[in-house]
Symmetry: C2
Subunit: 206 residues, 2 copies
Amino acid sequence: MAGTVFFSVSMSLDGFIAPESSDELMGKQWMELQQWIFPTRFFRENLGLGEGGEEGPDDDIARRTFARTGASVMGRRMFDAGERMWPEEAPFHTPVFVVTHEEREPWERPGGTVFHFVHDGIGSALEQAREAAGDRDVRIAGGGATILQHVNAGLVDEFTVAVSPVLFGKGVRLFEGVDAGRVALEPLRADPTARTTHLTYAVRGR
Amino acid sequence: MAGTVFFSVSMSLDGFIAPESSDELMGKQWMELQQWIFPTRFFRENLGLGEGGEEGPDDDIARRTFARTGASVMGRRMFDAGERMWPEEAPFHTPVFVVTHEEREPWERPGGTVFHFVHDGIGSALEQAREAAGDRDVRIAGGGATILQHVNAGLVDEFTVAVSPVLFGKGVRLFEGVDAGRVALEPLRADPTARTTHLTYAVRGR
């Protein structure tokens, strides 16, 4: 379906998508959470890290997720963290709509990523992202709070969670505060790979 | 490996294994959590509900889990709840070691389930269960707190989580309080079925 609104994240088996601190253990857990993507050929290509990398199901999934995305919506905290970390050629290569209170001119990066700053809420950001995406899909890039706002508002059509073989014990939970009385899930696909298990669900109302 | 100590539970995608209350919504979510097992032929057989039920991968998994179990360890709260709910022919058909402060004579049920009450801790319960299980495995039946005590004490060799397509939002979390600094996971198997995804991990120290 063109114009699908989706998200795609890696989650620990106990439900976390990010560490709450940056100590050594959490750094190790973070690597384990994401370890399905780092070795892929797509990951190296997309960040301009040069040749090489693995092909196979994880690479296919990362590549398909990228290819379907015509535009993204992002929360301010993810943007603020990313602004310091992304390479100059930011890894989105499409328009990204950042939900923020800050007024700021669009920020164009080499390689096709343009950050647009939206200060009238997620509804407006999503509408602009849909328009920019054209026939392709809109990805709610993150962070967790922004994803959950969209889920609870009934704005997400489907999502993929890569359930990785690690326990965090603490951190940022993907579904903390989900409106479970309104959100039902329909399983669409399950793709186990050697490093993680990609689970895809459609979001339905209750 | 004979004598493996394992647990096997159904978990919501957001990490819960039981509701915290018994309102209508949670009852519905509870059914969705467990819905892979109710239609199986094994479930009907084991509870003496008569003929019928579905065969297939969920049935195979439920049947294998039962067949490998030579004895179980159970927390007092799970026993207390179960005592009111299990049919006279309790569904274990093997010795069950209940960790409790109560002193009580063994309670033998028709069909081979014998509840033994152990009041000197989980180490003792597990030791007795190992001996009773012989060549078969020991299942930590639950509830969540008892499972986690065994995980954190390094006593669990492997486990299977059936990740079901439901969000709870609140309830009893399987891994709440896990000692993430000591527990690493190695994925062993992933078995997606139409109703859930069975994920099996070995527990390793860090």
